[in-house]
């Protein structure tokens, strides 16, 4: 029972963590909270559905293809919606992000329709029973692939030149360009990676919970945002830890309390952490020069 619930938490947590990475990376370089991110995740799920149903692609093709397609969508959204507002007040950018999210939702409602769609089972599920708990190859795959992706993102940011440029930009956006960093290119790469990771989460949600609809991104997007804030927005390690923590809190509260309390506990936790640790677990305290 305990191991069972731990596995359930890991599966849900890895999905939150993958989406939270996008929030945190974009915030890191631009100080922008990209509220359209949850809807990018939803579009990712639909893109995978299209590849699977209309083009009969296998999962191994769908994963990279969706990552690239939705990554490009992220780049385009940034280019069209956020770049013209980069020097505008933060509030304008946040409102634009909300509008982009609504735009993505309504375009899906208009073209595909509001009725829930069945996501095809791309892997044949096998059930493994070990004494008191049961798991599936799907659950193991979701957890493993997510962890590999998170390690890859961490290595990318820590070891590559582009990653170094990202960190520099996040550290100081006035001086980074003076060192020869192409700000537009780095911002595009960041958006592309964030959107790509969200689309992978979209595929995993489709596989694990195979009924998808155009509103699926709203709540999941909020929860992932909460994960990013709990972990310390701007910190990659924080987003991952925050995602897993949130997954565990949700599963445990549903397991031991009536489930109506679950969202209350999740958002209550956010409030509590913000009260005592406003910068989250791994975020750096912001020092403003006077």
């Amino acid at each position: 029972m305990v191991i069972q619930q731990a596995l359930n938490s890991l599966q849900l947590g890895s999905i939150y963590a993958l989406i939270a990475l996008g929030y945190t990376m974009v915030y890191g370089v631009l100080r922008l909270i990209n509220f359209a991110h949850g809807d990018v995740f939803m579009v990712g799920s639909y893109a995978a559905l299209f590849l699977a149903v209309s083009l009969h692609c296998p999962l191994l093709v769908i994963l990279p293809l969706t990552f690239i397609a939705i990554g490009l969508l992220g780049v385009v959204i940034e280019r069209l919606a956020y770049r013209p507002l980069r020097n505008a007040p933060r509030v304008s950018a946040v409102i634009t992000a909300l509008a982009v999210g609504l735009f993505l939702e309504t375009i899906m409602l208009a073209t595909i329709g509001p009725e829930p769609k069945k996501f095809p089972a791309l892997v044949t599920t096998t059930l493994y029973t070990f004494g008191s708990f049961t798991t599936t190859n799907l659950q193991i795959m979701i957890i493993m692939v997510s962890i590999i992706l998170m390690i890859a993102v961490d290595l990318f940011v820590a070891k590559t030149r582009t990653g170094m440029a990202m960190r520099a930009l996040s550290w100081d956006k006035t001086y980074a360009p003076l060192l020869g960093i192409n700000v537009d290119r780095i911002v595009s790469v960041t958006f592309g990676m964030g959107a790509g990771l969200a689309s992978i989460a979209g595929i995993f949600v489709g596989l694990a919970y195979p009924v998808i609809d155009p509103y699926m991104g709203i709540m999941v997007g909020w929860k992932a945002f909460v994960s990013a804030v709990i972990g310390g927005i701007g910190s990659i390690k924080g987003a991952v830890i925050g995602g897993f923590l949130l997954g565990a809190v949700e599963i445990l509260s549903a397991a031991f309390l009536p489930s109506t309390y679950r969202d209350m506990i999740v958002f209550g936790l956010l409030l509590f952490i913000l009260l005592f640790k406003p910068q989250g677990f791994f975020g750096l305290p912001v020092q403003k020069k006077v």
């Binding site: 069972q4 359930n8 679950r262």
Partner: protein, 383 residues
């Protein structure tokens, strides 16, 4: 002054004319009003309702009408469209009140039936709704009846089905606690199943829109239940079944009439095979009465009757039976007969009204999902 006097006289004259007109009309037929959703968002419901009503009335009139003590009186059906709007439905009820009908059949949807019932009750108009399942419709009302069972009532039926037909004793429930429908059925089921002698091993809830039920389902599996009851909507049920199987639940799964949309077959596919749910009616029911009704309807309209048609037909059946028993066209006498009608055998099964309630105790249909289609399995009679 003179002008005012003249207009008052002419008004009086008109009113008198109307009264005379209606009283003439009354003598040779029994008028029944039909308050149906002919236009609006559910025109299919209105169409089935009118079709079945016309058929029920035509059958009686073919025999000359209803045989009362002194003479046989034909039925006159008045059809009005409520546009699937609460205010129009209430206005139609008002129109029937002033039109002097003996009873009103309809509206069908609860959102129209509940406001119409308020008008009907305060004007002592006998009303039978074929299809409205909201428990509030007949609560504390004397003149309001329905031909279908209420949402909550299905909890009793499912409990009886699991205990008697499936022979299972350890049940678990997973339900949406934020929706009245799901919560009502789940609560009634728990009470009823425990009273019958079974055990409810786990009683778990979630909120509308949730996608992950693994925490609750792991608990259900660990509690060792042999059957899982999911009184939830068709778009969530496939997810719940899949996750139940993935957490190692191997028992049977049963649902309620919220499963009864063809969409569930598209979303759920093979994993639904062999599972059961309860509902009002099935187009392949096998009782004599149902078989005759389905054949007649098909001959007359060229399509298979749906649940609204069957329940409308039964509403008329209930009303005709009560008029016959009362041997009168006095609404009070007919109401008295209807409220104590027992063992009425309709198309949708046996039904009776008990202890002053306008909601019948009646049998429900169990559908089994086989080869990606709904097939009639059994009728459960809690009488």
């Amino acid at each position: 002054m003179v002008k005012n006097f003249l207009s008052a006289v002419s008004l009086l004259g008109t009113v008198a004319g109307i009264i005379v007109f209606f009283s003439c009309d009354k003598s040779d037929s029994i008028k029944i009003g039909l308050n149906a959703e002919l236009t609006g968002s559910v025109p299919v419901v209105g169409k089935s309702c009118v079709n079945a009503a016309a058929m029920a009335v035509a059958e009686v009139n073919a025999r000359g009408g209803i045989a009362l003590a002194d003479k046989t009186v034909p039925i006159k059906l008045l059809v009005e469209d409520n546009e699937d709007k609460a205010e129009s439905a209430a206005a139609v009820a008002q129109k029937f009140v002033s039109g002097g009908v003996l009873a009103m059949i309809g509206p069908n949807a609860s959102r129209n039936a509940v406001p119409s019932a308020v008008v009907a009750e305060s004007n002592r108009l006998l009303m039978i709704s074929p299809w409205a399942t909201n428990p509030k419709l007949t609560m504390d009302k004397k003149y309001i009846f329905r031909a279908c069972f209420t949402d909550d009532f299905q909890g009793n039926v499912v409990a009886a089905f699991i205990y008697k037909k499936l022979g299972l004793r350890r049940a678990a429930v997973l339900f949406d606690v934020t929706s009245e429908y799901n919560k009502g059925i789940a609560t009634v089921f728990k009470e009823s199943f425990v009273k019958t002698g079974g055990t409810v091993a786990a009683f778990e809830s979630y909120s509308t829109g949730d996608k992950d039920f693994t925490a609750q389902l792991s608990k259900i599996t660990a509690a060792g239940a042999d059957v899982l009851f999911l009184p939830n909507y068709y778009n969530e049920v496939p997810l719940q079944i899949q996750q139940a199987r993935q957490t190692g639940f191997t028992g049977s799964i049963v649902g309620s009439d919220s499963w009864g949309s063809e969409e569930i077959l598209k979303l759920g596919k093979d994993m639904l095979n062999g599972l059961y749910f309860t509902t009002h009616y099935s187009a392949d029911m096998a009782t004599d009465k149902a078989r005759k009704f389905i054949a007649d309807y098909q001959a007359r309209y060229g399509s298979r009757p749906d649940d609204v048609a069957a329940l409308t037909y039964d509403s008329f059946g209930l009303l005709f039976e009560s008029i016959q028993k009362a041997q009168s066209r006095d609404p009070e006498k007919v109401r008295a007969q209807l409220s104590s009608l027992s063992k009425f055998l309709g198309v949708t099964g046996a039904m009776e009204f008990r202890s002053g309630s306008g909601s019948p105790v009646k049998s429900a249909v169990v559908i089994q999902i086989k080869n990606n289609a709904f097939t009639y399995f059994d009728s459960i009679n809690p009488l």
